[in-house]
Symmetry: C2
Subunit: 356 residues, 2 copies
């Protein structure tokens, strides 16, 4: 989701960024006092945070506004704290997957490995980078909490937000683990990627942030169901669009090489739909190529053609349409404020459009 | 510190354990609902948690009692939450250090790698184990927070505890990073290990937990200084004792092979004191052997002799005595309750005794 056209996100960004900057300034000076050696770690964090799209804070904010919450500066602190959770998820995800790049730039553990290389320290630079990145992710998770708890919202509101906030964290970590298991056990069922999407994407990115906003505004019980009916299909459609772009996306727009998800061997629903529609020999051949880091361009081309000719691509597009319809229907029936309904309706378009 | 003789810890343990069990039961059933594949992850966590000594909860509890806090069951919830922070620190520390054992048993990432091996999944089992352990540590950090925030203490008390709680988490992660840096840049100054001990041990294990207890009882401002004057020297002395045991400890008592810290290459104050007291040739030889995984028994013997004959061991023992005196003096001058003073005095003996 690019911020350039998604105005319900763009409009939230300046206040979220200001909160992050203020928090980081204060924490950075504390950390510098512990040791100036920590400066490059904080720089790596800055680099990662500045590239974020603020999607979860935006959904949290609109969840709050939909529940009748006013333009209170304190809600931005709580909403912005979710960026630290996301920073931890990205840093640790790249360590787990051994990914050297993130959004076309060096991943955090690579940046920290470079620190070791340049200093000419003893031992393995890559191992140092990974270790330092694990610690930085932990710091982000702690700061997520500190920032949330330090919001100027009433204690009662923050306490009410604890339930979706806690669920969100447990679910994303559980979802990540299930994803790891699905990658290594090589099941080709369509249920497996759907369960992973449900926890890692739909709940984590859309449903729980919206519910957090509702809870902060004191209307969790009432609005949690409608935010689920909207958030789960929208979050799933968003992930499906992302999976399609991972295979067919234009490198200039995605910032990733063409067919990158195929080289990485991601077991998405798109892949599962393909495997279920072809004969065993073709399926075996596809799975042999899947995850091959040195995958040739003609091989990528063959795999893409198969995803398309098998009907898997069309099936996923149909699912996206269905989910979008469901999300829109949930919005129409919802008892939320008009401006939030408009913003959430715009977010459906922004999150699932064919061009990113 | 063995719980068998440290009654101020042993007396706190049953209530802390009961809190942990109740919390885990509830969370485990939630996680099982997400996916039964997560069962072995929760088992690995159980195994780790059951082996803990509850030192930080005990210091938190006695910090609370010293501030006049009563025998309120709610304080045990907040105190017990620190065990999840410690679980995260241990799990991630073992990943960072590539340690295959913890307290004589397989480390968490090893347990999770075995899961992969037994299932015969695709790819590298060790990598899977490390990735899963990173996620489990993250889950522990989130649960630390959930448990703390879910304590039945008044919102005002929990809010007051936020300052030492936040400091504790930032400091332990910053301290761990500084430790990583000191290991790889091979400085032989005595300042470097002292700074690491200050953050990773003294503040994290003793000072901040005590201050958290005082804050929960509403007396942070008043008691934070005295808990520092007691906690910093005691925590440092405790770490020094641990470092000495890491080189000279009886394997039957420490649960680790003789001279294990030398094989691991830990740059402790004991090592720095040794290097500063010998000639360059001897120092170079010592540093070459330090961190050699296949270190022979005669080499360990030679290194131990040098630590002793150089006067480094005696210097560290003198420091421990000094720190113990300082901690005792701080207690004598403190305005805390009598039963807490007695408990904290016992803890000095327990934490720094020559036999563990």
């Amino acid at each position: 989701m690019d911020s350039s056209y998604s105005s319900p996100i763009a409009s939230v960004r300046p206040a979220v960024d200001a909160e992050l900057t203020a928090f980081l300034e204060q924490r950075s000076s504390e950390v510098h006092r512990i040791g100036t050696e920590l400066a490059p770690v904080l720089q790596a964090l800055d680099a990662l945070l500045s590239g974020g799209k603020r999607m979860r804070p935006a959904f949290c904010y609109w969840g709050w506004r939909g529940a009748g919450g006013t333009e209170d500066p304190a809600v931005y602190t709580a909403a912005a704290s979710l960026e630290f959770l996301q920073a931890c998820a990205l840093i640790h995800d790249d360590v787990i997957d051994n990914s050297d790049t993130r959004r076309g730039l060096p991943s955090t553990h690579r940046r920290l490995a470079e620190l070791h290389e340049k200093a000419g320290w003893r031992g393995d630079a890559a191992e140092f980078g990974r270790g330092a990145a694990v610690l930085l992710g932990d710091l982000c998770l702690s700061w997520c909490e500190d920032m949330y708890a330090g919001s100027a919202l009433p204690a009662e509101a923050l306490r009410a937000g604890r339930k979706p906030f806690a669920d969100m964290r447990t679910e994303v970590m559980a979802g990540q683990f299930l994803d790891m298991v699905e990658q290594v056990r090589e099941t080709s069922s369509t249920e497996a990627p759907q369960r992973v999407m449900h926890y890692k994407s739909a709940k984590y990115t859309v449903e729980r942030p919206l519910q957090l906003g509702a809870a902060l505004a004191g209307r969790y019980e009432e609005l949690a169901p409608v935010y689920s009916s909207y958030g789960i299909p929208l979050g799933t459609a968003f992930q499906l669009r992302d999976d399609i772009l991972g295979v067919f996306g234009d490198p200039e727009q995605t910032g990733k090489p063409a067919g990158d998800d195929l080289r990485e061997g991601k077991r998405t629903l798109l892949v599962a739909e393909t495997l279920q529609r072809v004969d065993t020999t073709t399926s075996d051949r596809f799975q042999q190529l899947l995850g091959e880091p040195e995958l040739s361009d003609p091989a990528v081309e063959w795999m893409r053609d198969l995803v398309e000719s098998s009907g898997a691509l069309a099936a996923c597009e149909r699912r996206i349409e269905e989910y979008v319809e469901n999300a829109n229907r949930a919005l129409d029936r919802s008892r939320i404020t008009d401006d939030a309904r408009r913003a959430l309706s715009d977010l459906i378009v922004a999150a699932t459009a064919r061009k990113h």
